[in-house]
């Protein structure tokens, strides 16, 4: 809302320059977004509190400033009117109209101009001067916050009815060039032929007063806030009037506004005709709220007396009942302009807090403050993050939803399990159509973004969640799964002169998963699963020969793998083979396995290499297990090399490094011959075991031709 400083000064004495007024206004909840200076004076653009309809006027703003400063207020001039019995001209046919008063004014002398401050008030607040009959009502709306409407009485056909629309009714509203259908049930003001206004929202062109209008009906009403808001939303029209009514207008001002209008119309040659017709009169609630003075002082750490608080409340128009109040308890009557937001004691605390200023109160901490325990899962999460950061990974944030464009990165088939989504119903942007059921699409988006920015080495991770339709879920729509994902693409290490590039591959990612497993004190098991079910549908987008399920206690908790070449093609990413991991955050909460400290020994190990040619149907992990089971002297088995060439018959030749303890359980030192003999025995056991178990032929590399 815009207000002119000069106009405001007609409502309250302001003994400060604008530079000092603005911070004061902000300190009482009247946020000043802009200060503009022009030949029309100083205009302040305010952001008003959403619950304070009374702020939508100069008088309301003046009252709020008065509540802090007690600067003198000035009321508007008015000429009294009488209220007649009955309302022959108006009929109320809806319960949504709380109060409705109509006064008639007729030209009875020479037309004259309105005082300059009327136009100044309207224009300072962004309104337009139309004609004197209309300007009076608009002025009162801006000045005192009571929306009013004027009709050309000679254009009104028969009785005025306040009613709700029936299906298909139309109205030609102000500032529009063709009639529009009004929603059924919209509260309107109508005569016997036309709809004259949508109540509290916008007038219609029928019966609109002009400069030549001789007889005017002026309406002053209190409409139901919800009804006005529904109409305003349905029509897409937000007027000063609707904003005021939506926040609850002042039922005590319905007649006052007509008396101010009476004064202004008299200045321009119109005279009130007869009495005001009060078609609906609202017996609005007049609450009395109890305020505990000691309670207030404890709440704010203050020491105010009942008299001091009473005086401050009076500045807002809140009267303390002296008969029923004591030094410890104040009984406070709520005025009509505050019935919408002052209902209980805390509302009065708020008024007084604003009056005194929140910055005047002391600072304390809640009594009995003690630190909370850092949960184990957060420590584990932190360890994982530290490790990833040390490896060069950046944490990113992605949206909880995406659109077809992002999903297209995956090149999904029509029957892909990733085609099933929870959908947003009213997204302004089609990129927010689906709640995400996987993170790979966005992860590839990040790779593509960075590759396009000539930053091909991408390492990113996120803690997030995915959404999976499930009518059996708690909310009847979907399961929310807390997940962690990471993607790596390009080189493992930063580019350094004199160093060879080492492209990221699936074993790099697998290694990180294994390290995460260790950090969580969990023993993940990675199983190569060529055919994925629906347990982890994102697995279908990983290379069928280079992906594994991550299992914990036989439960699938994640996937790791290289992105499927087809997916990569659909994503448009070239010259890179990104690898991806998705892991359930459940692992942060799983019980860790106890671990035992094994002190380092002074007995140095003896190392022997064993190179075996292993056919494709034998898992290297299984071979390692057999090696360990075969000899109690083997302390550790590591893979030190892998190659595949014509010389190996295009099979994988794997070099295992066997670490023997140099001393037996009996305390005897092993000789080199004994270790060599043990290695030969292990090799033979492996060959025999897999021949028997899988009919697989494992060969000693040095035994190959």
């Amino acid at each position: 809302m815009k207000i002119g400083l000069e106009v405001l000064q007609r409502h309250i004495d302001i003994p400060l320059p604008v530079e000092e007024l603005v911070p004061l206004m902000e300190d009482i909840g009247l946020e000043v977004k802009r200060v503009d200076r022009s030949d029309k004076g100083i205009i302040l653009t305010l952001e008003l509190l959403a619950n304070r309809g009374d702020h939508y006027s100069y008088a309301g703003i003046a009252q709020e400033i008065h509540g802090r400063t007690a600067w003198d207020l000035h009321g508007l001039e008015r000429d009294a009117l009488t209220v007649g019995n009955g309302s022959p001209l108006v009929e109320i046919k809806t319960e949504k109209c709380n109060s409705y008063a109509l006064a008639e004014f007729a030209l009875s002398g020479e037309r004259a101009a309105l005082p300059d401050y009327v136009a100044q008030t309207i224009q300072s607040s962004g309104g337009n001067v139309v004609n004197p009959a209309v300007d009076v009502t608009n002025y009162i709306g801006f000045a005192m916050g009571q929306p009013m409407h004027a009709f050309d009485a000679d254009l009104v056909s028969g009785k005025i009815t306040v009613r709700e629309t029936v299906e298909g009714e139309t109205a030609l509203l102000l500032f529009e060039d063709k009639p529009r259908v009004l929603p059924t049930g919209t509260m309107v003001i109508a005569d016997e032929k036309n709809i004259l206004a949508v109540a509290g929202v916008m007038g219609a062109q029928a019966a609109m007063p002009t400069a030549e209008t001789k007889r005017i009906y002026v309406e002053s009403a209190a409409f139901d806030p919800v009804s006005v808001r529904k109409a305003s939303k349905a029509l897409g029209i937000q007027s000063h009037s609707s904003m005021r009514f939506e926040r609850g207008c002042d039922p005590g001002q319905v007649l006052n506004a007509l008396e101010i209008a009476n004064h202004l119309y008299s200045l321009i040659g119109y005279k009130a005709q007869g009495s005001v017709q009060m078609a609906a009169s609202w017996e609005y609630p007049k609450p009395e709220v109890k305020l505990s003075v000691p309670g207030f002082n404890i709440y704010y750490g203050a020491n105010y007396s009942a008299d001091e608080l009473s005086e401050r409340l009076a500045r807002y128009g809140l009267r303390v009942n002296e008969q029923t109040s004591t030094a410890e308890t104040l009984m406070v009557s709520v005025p009509s302009h505050r019935i919408w937001d002052i209902k209980e004691e805390k509302d009065l605390y708020e008024e007084l807090g604003r009056s005194i200023g929140y910055n005047e109160f002391p600072y304390t901490l809640p009594e009995g403050t003690r630190a909370a325990k850092l949960p184990e899962w957060r420590q584990r999460k932190s360890r994982v993050e530290d490790h990833l950061v040390s490896l060069g990974f950046y944490e990113v944030f992605t949206d909880g939803f995406y659109g077809e464009r992002t999903l297209g990165m995956l090149g999904l088939s029509e029957n892909s399990p990733l085609r099933t989504h929870v959908k947003t119903a009213n997204a302004e942007d089609r990129d927010y159509s689906y709640m995400k059921n996987n993170n790979l699409a966005q992860a590839l988006g990040i790779v593509a973004t960075n590759v396009n920015l000539r930053r091909p080495d991408v390492k990113a991770f996120e803690w997030t969640r995915t959404f999976h339709p499930n009518s059996e879920s708690e909310n009847g729509l979907c399961d929310e799964k807390l997940v962690f994902w990471m993607i790596a693409s390009g080189n493992e290490q930063d580019k350094n002169w004199g160093r060879k590039d080492t492209p990221v591959d699936v074993f790099y990612m697998k290694g990180i998963v294994e390290q995460i497993s260790e950090m969580l004190d969990l023993k993940f098991e990675l199983r190569q699963l060529p055919d994925y079910g629906t347990a982890a549908p994102v697995g279908t987008c990983l290379h069928p020969g280079r992906r594994a399920g991550i299992f914990m206690n036989d439960q699938l908790v994640g996937v790791v793998g290289e992105v499927d070449p087809r997916v990569l093609k659909a994503s448009g990413i070239k010259h890179s083979r990104p690898c991806f991991v998705e892991l359930s955050q459940d692992v942060l909460h799983m019980d860790g396995q106890p671990r035992k400290y094994v002190p380092p020994t002074n007995i140095l190990p003896i190392i022997r290499d064993l190179c075996l040619v292993i056919p494709a149907n034998v898992a290297v992990q299984d071979v390692m297990d057999v090696i360990k089971d075969t000899s109690p002297l083997v302390q550790a088995v590591n893979v030190t090399d892998s190659f595949n060439s014509e010389a190996t018959g295009h099979q994988n030749a794997i070099t295992f490094s066997l670490e023997f303890s140099s001393r037996t359980d009996l305390g005897e030192n092993l000789t080199a011959d004994q270790v060599t003999g043990e290695t030969e025995k292990i090799a033979q056991d492996v060959i025999d075991t897999f021949k028997e178990r899988q009919q697989a032929t494992i060969l000693l590399r040095n035994a190959m031709p």
């Binding site: 709440y299 944490e395 949206d399 909310n475 290490q493």
Partner: protein, 358 residues
């Protein structure tokens, strides 16, 4: 001439022969060592002269054949001098050759230290996570625990119990994404507070609830449809407005320093009363401080307590939302926080590994 030589000369020819032999060895050694330029040859020379079977050692072995004690003593002195001479020369030349070899090595190994160092660049947590974690740690020391909640919510938890009835203008403050089944995407993490108040009745309740929220707004340079919020709630018997002020001030000073101050301005949030906006600024000794809005807070509205099964006559509390995006902007000098949601890792890199000002 040495005194010992004179004495031996007086004793007869035997000593003279020995002296001649010593001089011969000495001269020959000197010739050879003058030509040595590497440690290997020097070592060969050492073995040849003072090694177990070296000339000096052999000569010293002849002492036992000398019967005359005076001659024997004089010869021993002569031989020792020879040994000392040889060993001294060897040591001196070893040092000389080592120095030469060291100089050669250094010259050969000298590099251009202006070449860039080889690095392994670390990554970084998201700057928002960093601030979130800091705030959580500070608040944890005050007894606040982390609580999470669903992002897909009911209108009841997002609006109704929080004192935002349908058709209230306050709903305009948060444009909502709606889903099927009359569900929605939470527009604020206050939903977590609602769920906690609904399910917990043991006091005190002290929680923080950071997380993603969704607003169905047109995205521009300063608005996002999905962004992070960080909220906290403290409920107990006798919680005061001053506790809210003290807690917020504690967090701000812990993060930014004790020379920072907080001011509170009236605001409206349907679920708190009184509601306040929080601005912070560095204290200045002259001129006006530059205030930056950092979040909103307030005392839990009595109606919210009633809606969630608590008696506002018995309990009170405060809730707050910290503008962590604003804090990140302040800490890192980022103009548009939106860039941190776009996956451009150059931005993350630039934040994490800031350059020195030139």
């Amino acid at each position: 001439m040495y005194k010992a030589d004179l004495m031996i000369e007086n004793k007869g020819v035997c000593m003279a022969e020995l002296s001649e032999k010593v001089q011969g060895i000495k001269a020959e050694f000197q010739d050879k060592i003058d030509q040595v330029s590497d440690l290997k040859t020097l070592e060969e020379l050492r073995v040849a002269y003072v090694g177990k079977k070296g000339q000096v050692k052999v000569l010293m072995g002849t002492l036992r054949d000398i019967k005359d004690p005076d001659v024997k003593r004089a010869a021993a002195v002569e031989f020792n001098k020879l040994r000392e001479y040889v060993e001294g020369n060897l040591d001196e030349n070893r040092r000389r050759i080592e120095n030469v070899e060291y100089d050669r090595q250094i010259e050969a190994e000298t590099v251009d230290m202006t070449m860039p160092g080889r690095t392994h660049e670390t990554g970084a947590r998201h700057p928002l996570s960093d601030i979130e974690t800091e705030c959580m740690e500070i608040l944890r020391m005050l007894g606040f625990e982390y609580v999470d909640g669903p992002e897909i919510e009911t209108p009841a938890h997002n609006f109704d119990v929080l004192n935002i009835p349908e058709y209230h203008p306050a709903r305009d403050m948060q444009d909502t994404f709606w889903l099927e089944n009359d569900l929605l995407l939470r527009s604020h993490t206050t939903t977590v507070q609602a769920r906690v108040l609904e399910s917990r009745h043991d006091l005190p309740i002290k929680i923080v609830s950071p997380g993603k929220v969704y607003r169905n707004e047109a995205v521009d340079a300063t608005h996002l449809a999905c962004f992070h919020q960080f909220e906290g709630l403290c409920v107990d018997k006798g919680i005061r407005f001053t506790d809210l002020k003290g807690t917020i001030e504690h967090v701000i000073r812990s993060i930014f320093g004790s020379n920072w101050q907080v001011r509170f301005k009236p605001k409206f949030y349907p679920y708190t009363e009184p509601s306040v906006g929080m601005d912070i600024s560095e204290k200045v000794t002259s001129g006006e401080p530059k205030w930056i809005t950092i979040g909103g807070a307030g005392m839990v509205h009595p109606q919210v307590f009633r809606n969630l099964g608590h008696d506002p006559e018995q309990v009170s509390g405060f809730a707050f939302g910290m503008g962590i995006s604003r804090m990140v902007s302040m800490r890192h000098g980022l103009d548009h926080i939106k860039t941190l949601y776009e996956g451009d890792l150059r931005v993350h890199q630039a934040v994490a590994h800031k350059r020195f000002e030139m």
